[in-house]
């Protein structure tokens, strides 16, 4: 059981809704993943300021909690405005806050992120900030009112998997009581299992599922890997050793050395 703000969830997989071959495939993937939270982009799925009503209706019909995001926003002001639109459209105080600092790498602009997080938290939003693995930024976000952090493990959509395991480890160690959700850069189930084994609380995926040959099957694979990674963390992972340790004693048997 994981608690984010005042909501308890059992599935540790959060799923994005962009880029699927069709809404029907998206719906299959959501079912297969057993996710309880989907994210939806307000800007990417709209044009001319008018919301994509029919698509949003399909998202609502998925029956999960909806975490709207501010994907595509490049300034704090834009992100705050988009968050407010999202609150109207989806009637939720949740917002996945994304402020992009570089159009090419989609790195978060952490300065604008902290600024927007403070404004939105003060206005009663429950902010899920998409951030880097920088500890000082993480502290500033918590000071600004965030009670969940969503660090990347690699650039958005890159499918590269965890690029800096020691940074992720120290983040976990520094914030033992803050729900940490790895938000971007996961490419395959083994990546998700890796960060879950480190003790991260959940994983948010989009492209890795949407861009797979069979998104529903991949969603199911991820769900199992995330579950396996979590169980490994809770069970206590055996750390690597420098030499072989036989699982059955060798005393009394022939030894070749």
């Amino acid at each position: 059981m994981l608690q984010v703000y005042d909501t308890e969830i059992t599935s540790r997989l959060l799923l994005g809704t962009a880029g699927y071959p069709s809404p029907a495939v998206l719906s299959d993937a959501v079912r297969a993943s057993q996710t309880q939270i989907v994210t939806v982009s307000l800007r990417r799925e709209t044009a001319g300021g008018k919301a994509g009503g029919a698509f949003f209706e399909l998202i609502r019909e998925l029956g999960t909690k909806i975490l709207p995001n501010t994907a595509g926003c490049h300034t704090a002001k834009e992100a705050v405005l988009t968050a407010k639109m999202a609150r109207e459209v989806f009637r939720t105080n949740w917002i996945k806050l994304e402020v992009i600092g570089n159009h090419d790498t989609l790195q978060p602009d952490v300065f604008a992120l902290v600024e927007a997080a403070r404004i939105l938290s003060n206005e009663g939003f429950e902010v899920f900030p998409y951030t880097t693995d920088d500890l000082v930024v993480a502290e500033r976000l918590l000071e600004a009112g965030c009670r969940v952090l969503m660090p990347w493990c690699a650039p958005i959509g890159s499918a590269m998997g965890p690029q800096n395991l020691s940074a992720l480890r120290s983040m976990r160690a520094h914030f033992p009581d803050v729900p940490l959700i790895v938000d971007a850069g996961i490419g395959r189930p083994s990546h998700a299992a890796t960060v879950m084994e480190l003790g991260f609380d959940a994983v948010l995926l989009n492209t890795a599922v949407a861009g797979a040959g069979d998104p529903a099957l991949m969603a199911s694979g991820f769900a199992r890997a995330i579950e396996a990674g979590r169980q490994a963390f809770e069970a206590g992972v055996l750390e690597p050793r420098d030499m072989a340790v036989p699982s059955t004693p060798v005393i009394g048997k022939a030894v070749f050395s």
Binding site: A24, V25, E45, T46, G52, A54, F55, G157, G211, G213
Partner: protein
């Protein structure tokens, strides 16, 4: 589907009564053609003053079933392959079967590998082979995927000639008429091909906005559609006559028809410029927006209610799928036991 009776036919095999088609976009026109050539009398009502006033007018006109398979259902590939032959037969000389070239920038070549694993009907080209096919792209790409069986047409020219052909076949057009109220008593069957106009009446239907633009330049020549893969902004460039290039197209979950967004324009132009710098010097002769109607699985449906058939949800595959749908509708009207692949019982 199974129709219980032979329409308009009673028991004594009398002639089929006239059919009314609503909508003169690609679906309406192709359906009119399939009916007219079976000897059925057809009237077409269209709310605009000319044919192709909807999304069809802004289409790319690529007949690319193998490329589309990257994200589309297997049915699109199978049915689409036959569409190439249909268009060649219906509009002799208007269809170019030069294949499709798929390229990616050096840093995105993994997108090409991914595209290759999702599709069939292609072969790899090296830099020299690319230069042979498209001399103006020489030296720009080390590898490309080539889909030799694919074809393309100019949608505006195709719709106009199909309209002329239909008039010559005796099909009557009624422009500026949104409904068939004035003429409805004469028809036994109505076929609603009104596309986006059906959005308010069909809860399962949604609009997917597409934005495109036309560039004109004499500095570069292409003989076939080129798809430029990019992780975020894939784009295609389809050559037209007289130095025109259609550049498309965005896919946005929205039913808004308004002018192209600045961001979309930037992304399309940026990608076109990356494909070849000559596009940076081109004139922008037109930008356009179309709303493509789609069902949740992005596959088309034929629905029947009483004596009306609705053909809708062709998504981004209007030219590719309308021949098969039109054939299905025509067979549904004529053969009591026709099994339609697209009929939706719901």
């Amino acid at each position: 589907m199974v129709l219980q009776r032979r329409p308009g036919n009673g028991s004594n095999g009398c002639q089929m009564r006239p059919v009314l088609i609503k909508g003169a976009g690609v679906v309406g026109l192709v359906t009119a053609y399939e009916l007219a050539r079976r000897g059925i009398e057809v009237d077409v009502v269209e709310q605009a003053q000319h044919i192709g006033a909807g999304a069809s007018w802004f289409a790319g006109g690529m007949l690319a079933p193998w490329c589309e398979r990257e994200s589309a259902d297997e049915k699109v590939e199978r049915v689409g392959a036959a569409a190439i032959e249909w268009w060649k037969a219906a509009l002799p000389g208007k269809v170019a079967q030069e294949g499709t070239l798929v390229v990616a920038a050096a840093r995105d070549t993994r997108e090409l590998d991914r595209f290759a694993t999702r599709t069939t009907g292609h072969r790899w080209l090296d830099a020299e082979e690319i230069a042979e096919l498209e001399p103006d792209l020489a030296g720009r790409f080390a590898r490309a995927l080539y889909f030799p069986r694919e074809a393309h047409l100019d949608p505006r020219e195709a719709l106009s000639s199909l309209g002329d052909t239909l008039m010559a076949m005796g099909v009557r057009f009624h422009f500026g008429q949104a409904t068939d109220a004035t003429v409805s008593h004469r028809f036994d069957w109505r076929i609603d091909c009104s596309g986006r106009a059906r959005l308010p009446d069909d809860a399962a239907l949604r609009g997917v906005r597409g934005e495109m633009l036309y560039l004109r330049t004499g500095d570069i020549q292409l003989s076939r559609p080129v798809r430029f893969l990019h992780p975020r902004h894939p784009l295609y460039v389809v050559p037209r006559r007289q130095g025109l290039f259609m550049v498309g197209a965005t896919m946005i979950e929205s039913e808004t028809c308004g002018p192209i967004a600045a961001r979309s324009l930037m992304e399309l132009l940026n990608a076109a410029y990356a494909l070849h710098p000559a596009f940076g010097e081109a004139e922008i002769t037109e930008t356009g927006t179309g709303v493509r109607p789609a069902y949740p699985d992005n596959l088309p449906r034929i629905t029947r209610s009483g004596s009306t058939f609705c053909v809708n949800g062709l998504y981004r595959h209007g030219f590719l799928l309308s021949p098969a749908l039109a054939h299905d509708v025509a067979e549904c009207l004529l053969s009591p036991n026709h099994q339609s692949e697209f009929h939706d019982e719901a």
